[in-house]
C-alpha cells in the first residue's frame, strides 16, 4: 500500500512540477481571494486584523477544492477513473498517494498565503510552531476528505458543481477548528492558547477519521462503470 502511495504521489507531484498549475493558477487565485476580502471588508476600518485567521482558512479551503479538482483532472484522457484502475494499483495506496500530493501542494501554498496575510492584513504570527501544527492537521483533513469526495465526483459531467456541495459541509468543522486555533497566534483576537488546544484535538480527530475512511472507501468508489 505505501509503495503504491509513494508511486502515485511521486507521479502527481512530477506532473505538477511539469505543468505548474498550482504555482501559476491556484496560488494567484488564493492571493486574489485575500485581496478581494480586503475590498469587501473595507480595509481601512481595522477589521482585517481580527478576521485574518478566518479569511486565511476560507482561502485555503477554496484553494483546496481547486487542488482536488486538478488532482482528478490529470488522470489521463476522457475517463478520469480508467487509467487509475487499469494500472492495477491498490485503491488505498492510490488514495494515500493522491491525498498526500494534494496535502503537499496545499502546505506549500499555505506558507505563501501566511506571508500574504501577514503583509496584506498587517498581523503578526506569534507562534510559528503551533501554527505549523494547526496547518498540518487541517491540511491532512482537507486533503483526505477532498480526495474521498473527489473520487465520488470524478468522471461525472457535473463534478465541478457537485464537489463543492459535497465537500464544503463536511469541511465546516475543519474551518471552524483551524480558524479558532489559528486566532491564538495570528491576528488580534482574544483567543488564548488554552482555548486553542481543544480545536487542535478536533482537527486531529477529523483528519484521522477521514484518512481511515479514505483508505477503506477510495478503492470501492473508483469501481464504478
Amino acid at each position: 500500500m505505501f509503495r503504491d502511495a509513494a508511486l502515485v504521489a511521486g507521479k502527481d507531484l512530477r506532473i505538477e512540477a511539469r505543468s505548474r498549475v498550482a504555482t501559476n493558477q491556484v496560488l494567484p487565485f488564493a492571493l486574489l481571494v485575500l485581496i478581494l476580502f480586503a475590498f469587501a471588508l473595507d480595509a481601512d476600518r481595522g477589521q482585517l486584523a481580527s478576521v485574518a485567521a478566518g479569511m486565511f482558512w476560507v482561502t485555503v479551503l477554496f484553494s483546496g477544492l481547486l487542488a482536488v479538482q486538478r488532482s482528478f483532472a490529470v488522470e489521463a484522457g476522457d475517463d478520469a477513473r480508467d487509467a487509475l484502475r487499469l494500472s492495477g494499483l491498490d485503491g488505498a495506496g492510490v488514495f494515500l498517494g493522491k491525498a498526500g500530493a494534494v496535502a503537499a501542494q496545499l502546505l506549500a501554498l499555505e506558507v505563501v498565503l501566511a506571508a500574504g496575510v501577514i503583509v496584506l492584513y498587517d498581523v503578526d504570527l506569534t507562534g510559528v510552531a503551533f501554527f505549523a501544527l494547526v496547518c498540518t492537521l487541517a491540511t491532512v483533513g482537507i486533503a483526505a476528505s477532498g480526495t474521498v469526495y473527489g473520487a465520488v465526483a470524478a468522471g461525472l459531467r457535473v463534478r465541478e458543481t457537485l464537489l463543492p456541495l459535497l465537500v464544503l459541509p463536511v469541511l465546516a468543522p475543519v474551518l471552524l477548528g483551524a480558524a479558532r486555533a489559528s486566532e491564538a497566534v495570528l491576528g488580534t483576537t482574544s483567543t488564548t492558547m488554552a482555548d486553542a488546544w481543544p480545536w487542535v484535538r478536533l482537527l486531529a480527530v477529523f483528519s484521522t477519521i477521514y484518512v481511515a475512511f479514505g483508505i477503506v472507501a477510495f478503492g470501492p468508489l473508483l469501481e464504478e462503470s
Binding site: L162, P169, L176, R180, W199, L202, F213, S225
Partner: protein
C-alpha cells in the same frame, strides 16, 4: 408491507395527527412564558426528532446494510434514498418552523447557536446526498456511491456537533437564546402528553410516507428493468441481422 397494512398505518397516522392537532390547538393551555407560540413546538419538536434521528438514522443503517455483502439488496438502497428524502423535507420544515417560533420569542429569524448551526450543516450534508443520488448511473453503481456518501455524512455529524458546540460555549452568548432551556421537558401534564402524542403521530406519518416513497422507487426501478430486457432483445437481434454479412471470409 401489504396494502392493508399500509392502509391501517395511514389511518392511524391520520387519526393521531388529527388528535394531535386538536390537543395542540385547542385542548392544551398556552404557556405562561411563551404564550401561544409554544403550540408551534408541538410541530417543531416532532419534525426535528423525525428528521435528525429517525430518517437519517434509517438512511445510515440502510446504507450499511446495502454495503455489507451478507445483506446486500436493492431494497436497502431504495429505503435509504426514500428515508433521506423524507428527512430532508422534514428538516427543512424544522428549520422554518423553528425560525417562525424564534421570531416572537427571541426577536430574530435566525441565530448562530449550536443547535441551529449544526442542523443547518446537517441539512446541506443531506442535500448533497440527494444530489449524488440523482446523478444517472446503473442502480448498483449509484447505490454504492450513495451509500458511501451517506456513511461519510454520518461520520461527519458528531464532528460537526462537537465543533459547533465548543464554538458556541466558548463565546458564551448562548444563555439567553438557548432554545434547549425553553424547549425543556419541564413541561408537564397536558402539554407533555400532547408533545408525546405529536411525536407518535409523526412517527406513524414517517413510516407511512416511507412505505409509499419506497413503493414509488421500486416501481421506477422495475420500469427500468423492463426497458433493459427490451434492450437486450434488440441487442441480440442485431446479431441475427448482421450474421449474413459476416459469415463469409
Amino acid at each position: 408491507m401489504t396494502t392493508t397494512g399500509s392502509r391501517v398505518l395511514g389511518w392511524s397516522a391520520a387519526v393521531s395527527l388529527a388528535l394531535t392537532a386538536w390537543m395542540a390547538l385547542v385542548a392544551s393551555p398556552a404557556d405562561a412564558v411563551q404564550g401561544d407560540a409554544v403550540r408551534l413546538l408541538y410541530l417543531h419538536v416532532p419534525t426535528a426528532w423525525l428528521a435528525m434521528y429517525l430518517s437519517f438514522g434509517v438512511t445510515t443503517l440502510a446504507s450499511v446494510l446495502y454495503l455489507w455483502k451478507r445483506t446486500r439488496s436493492q431494497f436497502w438502497d431504495l429505503v435509504a434514498g426514500a428515508s433521506a428524502e423524507i428527512g430532508v423535507v422534514f428538516l427543512g420544515l424544522t428549520l422554518v418552523i423553528g425560525s417562525i417560533w424564534g421570531r416572537p420569542i427571541w426577536g430574530v429569524w435566525w441565530t448562530w447557536d449550536a443547535r441551529l448551526t449544526s442542523t443547518a450543516v446537517l441539512f446541506v450534508l443531506y442535500l448533497g446526498y440527494l444530489a449524488i443520488r440523482r446523478v444517472p448511473a446503473e442502480p448498483h453503481v449509484r447505490g454504492r456511491r450513495a451509500a458511501i456518501v451517506a456513511l461519510a455524512a454520518f461520520v461527519d455529524v458528531p464532528v460537526v456537533h462537537m465543533a459547533v458546540d465548543w464554538w458556541r460555549t466558548l463565546h458564551q452568548e448562548a444563555s439567553v437564546l438557548d432554545e434547549r432551556r425553553l424547549g425543556d421537558p419541564q413541561i408537564t401534564g397536558v402539554m407533555l402528553f400532547t408533545l408525546l402524542l405529536a411525536v407518535l403521530a409523526f412517527t406513524l406519518l414517517y413510516f407511512w410516507l416511507l412505505v409509499h416513497r419506497y413503493r414509488l422507487a421500486r416501481v421506477e426501478e422495475e420500469a427500468e428493468a423492463r426497458r433493459l430486457e427490451e434492450a437486450l432483445v434488440e441487442r441480440r437481434a442485431e446479431g441475427v441481422e448482421a450474421v449474413p454479412e459476416v459469415s463469409t471470409t
